[in-house]
Symmetry: C2
Subunit: 437 residues, 2 copies
């Protein structure tokens, strides 16, 4: 069975979605908008929904809606309005403290009955650094070095209560067995954390760990820690190569290939006919503001391309410097491979910022997903509706039933936790297992 995650942006993933008549950008700033989307994802039996994040205002709010709510507060609110769907929040290891994040994700896991996931990011942006007392962004290696120890501390904190530490024995007056609650006494180069955490071990043991960095360091990090990976892949060949690459790194950390799920992004633009789907895509692309796209492109490439003619080729942008290495390579590769003008490149990026956009009928979309899944390029997909809520309604009402008919996707939830949805084991209780049998 494949796994499906709904990647949620306020009005959808197409950069002009907020201008499209099918969206309501005012309502997209309300809790009810997101609650409706979450309920739709549950109606479609999706595994999870996911919110991206950065700790700075994305520079381009002049021409596009932006992530309005902070992910952990929004997902906590959605936990109260949903029953099944997994809830994956992005949070930075560079600008947080492990005690806070361990606790908040444990709290969300308890609130939701075991449905929390953490998308680990290391925050490459200079705008982010400047909101946290820094004049320059920390280097790639330094960010990953901190992220490594950060996750180690967080896992220790989640395990600082044994699963059965809370006795709640009214007769004896013993609330918790303090022999089963452990100070972690972590003393490392970045963090000195005594612990224990002030909340019981999460229902999932550890909330699900998700990662989306695709650099060499990012792939190694994923192979060590991640249980799901979101990735941008334009072609089946690239997707297959990435899949084999990351899965091949697991063995050296004592992990099996099924312990990490790889979910390439896809923005499906649906129509009753292929022509209708393409017309919808053209309708969205007609609403693009080139100024917006040029600034986004300049940011992705870390190179100012705003001064160049739209109908000329992408100029020499040098080599990758710092930020998002894999996205840089993807975008430059796409422009060169297909010999695109800047205007054409902007159209190709408008739907998914480098993620794959596919316009077609529900059967054609299902064919694509099946081909990647059965061909060994994906364990499932990060579904990026071009518009919201309509694009998710279409996917759930038209594509999900087709996948179910083919036996590729669940027709009912069989478990209750996010880990169970993804078929991932609950981590053992590290202190308990040390006890004599």
């Amino acid at each position: 069975m494949m796994h499906l995650n709904a990647f949620v942006m306020p009005n959808g993933h197409h950069e002009a979605a907020w201008r499209h008549p099918s969206t309501d950008p005012h309502r997209a700033r309300t809790l009810q908008h997101y609650a409706d989307i979450a309920r739709t994802a549950e109606r479609g039996k999706l595994d999870s929904l996911f919110l991206a994040d950065g700790v700075a205002l994305w520079g381009n709010v002049k021409h596009n809606s932006h992530s309005h709510f902070e992910p952990l507060t929004l997902l906590s609110a959605l936990a109260a309005r949903t029953v099944h769907i997994g809830l994956i929040a992005t949070a930075s290891t560079t600008y947080n403290e492990p005690y806070h994040l361990a606790r908040k994700f444990a709290s969300l896991d308890h609130l939701s009955g075991g449905r929390a996931g953490w998308n680990i990011v290391t925050s490459a942006g200079i705008d982010e650094a400047r909101n946290f007392n820094l004049a320059k962004r920390p280097a790639h290696a330094a960010r990953y070095d901190r992220a490594e120890e950060f996750v180690e501390v967080v896992k220790k904190l989640w395990d600082s209560w044994d699963d059965d530490a809370a006795l709640v024995d009214r007769a004896s007056g013993i609330y918790a067995d303090t022999d089963r609650i452990h100070a972690i006494e972590h003393d490392g180069p970045h963090f000195q954390v005594r612990g224990p955490l002030n909340i019981e071990r999460p229902p999932q043991g550890h909330p699900l760990l998700v990662q989306a960095g695709s650099s060499e360091t990012g792939k190694e990090y994923a192979a060590r820690h991640a249980e799901a990976v979101f990735t941008a892949q334009q072609t089946f060949a690239e997707g297959k190569a990435f899949y084999d690459d990351v899965k091949g790194r697991l063995a050296k950390y004592g992990r099996t290939p099924d312990e990490l799920k790889i979910l390439p992004g896809i923005s499906p633009i649906l129509g009753r006919t292929e022509a209708e789907a393409r017309a919808r895509e053209a309708e969205l692309n007609a609403l693009i503001t080139p100024d917006y796209g040029l600034r986004q492109l300049s940011k992705m490439l870390d190179h100012d391309v705003t001064g160049h003619p739209l109908d000329g080729p992408l100029p020499d942008v040098g080599s990758f410097t710092e930020g998002g290495q894999s996205r840089f390579e993807l975008v430059v590769g796409l422009a060169r491979r297909e010999d695109l003008t800047i205007r054409q490149l902007l159209e190709r990026l408008a739907g998914g910022r480098g993620h794959r956009v596919f316009a077609g009928t529900p059967v054609q979309v299902a064919d694509e997903l099946e081909a990647w899944f059965t061909g060994g390029a994906a364990d499932g997909f990060n579904v990026m509706p071009p518009t919201l809520p309509g694009g998710l309604d279409d996917f759930v009402d038209l594509v999900v039933p087709e996948l179910q008919r083919r036996g590729l996707f669940r027709t009912e939830y069989s478990g209750t936790t996010l880990r169970e949805h993804y078929g991932l084991a609950r981590p053992a209780d590290r202190n308990r297992v040390k006890e004599p049998a």
Copy 2:
């Protein structure tokens, strides 16, 4: 009209509440438990509910339930289950970054339609310091120094979007007027924060600022920044003196007395007769674990009193060192004034950790609240139910109607935001007001 806040602990404020047959300590670890409490508070037309917090496991979990959920995640979930009630979360200025807190409270304020409040604490505990890379706790003055700049940065960030910055003009493709979104360029001794915040100005302008420190520094801080103050006062005379003291400090900051609401704590133990109320109190006190109380007392006094005979007097505990100065003075004052044995002192503290406990009929409780309110010792009360959910049900069903009959408390909500409940103005938009008229 008086203001009423429900101070929520898992099983109630009496330290033995979790052992009492009227509570369900397993259910007290679920979202539904808190959602029921919040709905009860709304049924009673209360202004707000409030969660205390610390960023370490309170040492005494062996004998008492503890704050299970992290406040911002829990209150975000409750925002999705309630309509009217204000939601006040405690968060530390010592172990957070202003960008994160400004954003999370803004997010909760948007999610809840303007119902967020922040109880500002500076985290005196050594256990808290040790979870955040420190071997010692920062000194009182250093904590307040940081807190001062922290709140300044947070307010600047809340104001970094003008109220009308989001234009959402589909026709022109202008989502936000970037001339109305301002980098704050804060460059201070503790924080260098560029901004702007990545979320629109909160519905309330600023979420409500609450404070509970009662030291000299704490009172000055409250007079400068707080809009509501929670305080522990054992007698009317002490309450009146505190009230006059804090209100008297406002003028020098250009504030009027009604811009800050003072809410002493009270744990009302209710019975149909006074005898029944006292019997309930005795029933709860009979469930006390002396070992728990002694450890709590030792912590409050920052002095180990566990070795002394329970039926002897409180030994010399020296003078206050560091932590909670006003609580130290309150507890020592109570023991000396009434010449209490340690056992008697533990019973007096078991109901509210130094807050006032009052056992009586609904009419007697209403009489007390009226006397403090009309006598100028309180603008309202921080209601601390001895047990939950039952103690809040009793208060809402028996005391609130009596206050309403006397014309002392609202019978319907007249506003929609937490500020409107408390009769507090919405802060002006600092960048807008600079524009020429």
